[in-house]
Symmetry: C2
Subunit: 144 residues, 2 copies
DNA sequence: CTCATGTTTTGAGTCATTCAAAATAAGGCT
DNA sequence: AGCCTTATTTTGAATGACTCAAAACATGAG
């Protein structure tokens, strides 16, 4: 794991680029999300506490809040799951969640048209965005 | 409010039709959802406790769980909100949520095609259902 | 190197929800 | 009509996810 150094440098760069101070907890959190691209605060905490003994779940929440506000992270809240964070922020993609094990994968917008962006009747609402979540069985859970 | 009697009878009927015993809390919960078609457990509790002094939020959760399992209610979990319950269960409609005040309205599937039901790439998932949530400003919050 | 400011730590508290055991009521049966 | 089994509600407690606030600390601009 000698590549950690360069990785950490790259992560630090994106933190700095977002106008935030670079700290150990922040780099560690970003690295954890790199490892598992759809992850919740608790998992992040468990994933980094060995290398950062002084950290707490609250600290992780603080980092995640700062990152989300800075546009470095996107927060998604699928049903039956704590909030998940992902680094893919600059496109409007969707998600597919395994109804058995909770695994999450990205799904690109259906090609050819912007699906579901125009509801048939918006009840007078001014539509700003559309969120699409697919539910199904992941490859593993299909066999089991 | 003399119509309450007939209303209660109709509600009792649908509870019985779902194979469940008819009780005061159950009728009250269903009536509360009738009054406010997208409502969470806490609001239901506050809405019925005057007429049912002995009730608790836990009881409401119990009723809601039984109803959801029996297919009498649909549970939705929009981001930034506790779970909401609605009586429209037999069609696959979607929702539009006001990003300012949280108001929720139903949205029918866009006509002509089943939008978003076929993700461009499902990563090997066996897709079972698609959930679409629109976000925007409700008529009230547009002016304010 | 120093200092102001942004971050993290620490400790406590809230909200939504679940669990389990005891008390109670519904409604089929006689 | 009344009893009894079983479903349901009550009561009390606990959990998980997240937020808040004050004090300690580190970053990086100067």
């Amino acid at each position: 794991m000698t590549t950690d150094v360069t990785d950490a440098a790259a992560l630090a760069d994106s933190i700095r680029a977002a106008g935030l101070k670079v700290t150990e907890p922040r780099v560690a959190v970003l690295a954890a999300i790199e490892r598992e691209p759809h992850i919740d605060a608790g998992r992040i905490f468990r994933s980094i506490r060995s290398s950062l003994p002084g950290t707490s779940v609250q600290a992780v929440h603080g980092v995640l809040a700062a990152f989300s506000q800075a546009g470095l992270l996107r927060r998604i809240e699928p049903a039956h799951s704590p909030a998940l964070y992902e680094r893919r922020v600059d496109d409007n993609h969707h998600h597919i969640v395994c109804s058995a094990c909770g695994a999450v994968e990205d799904v690109d917008c259906a090609v050819g048209h912007s699906p579901c962006l125009v509801p048939s009747s918006a009840s007078g609402f001014q539509v700003q965005s559309a969120e699409v979540n697919f539910w199904g069985l992941c490859p593993n859970c299909q066999t089991a």
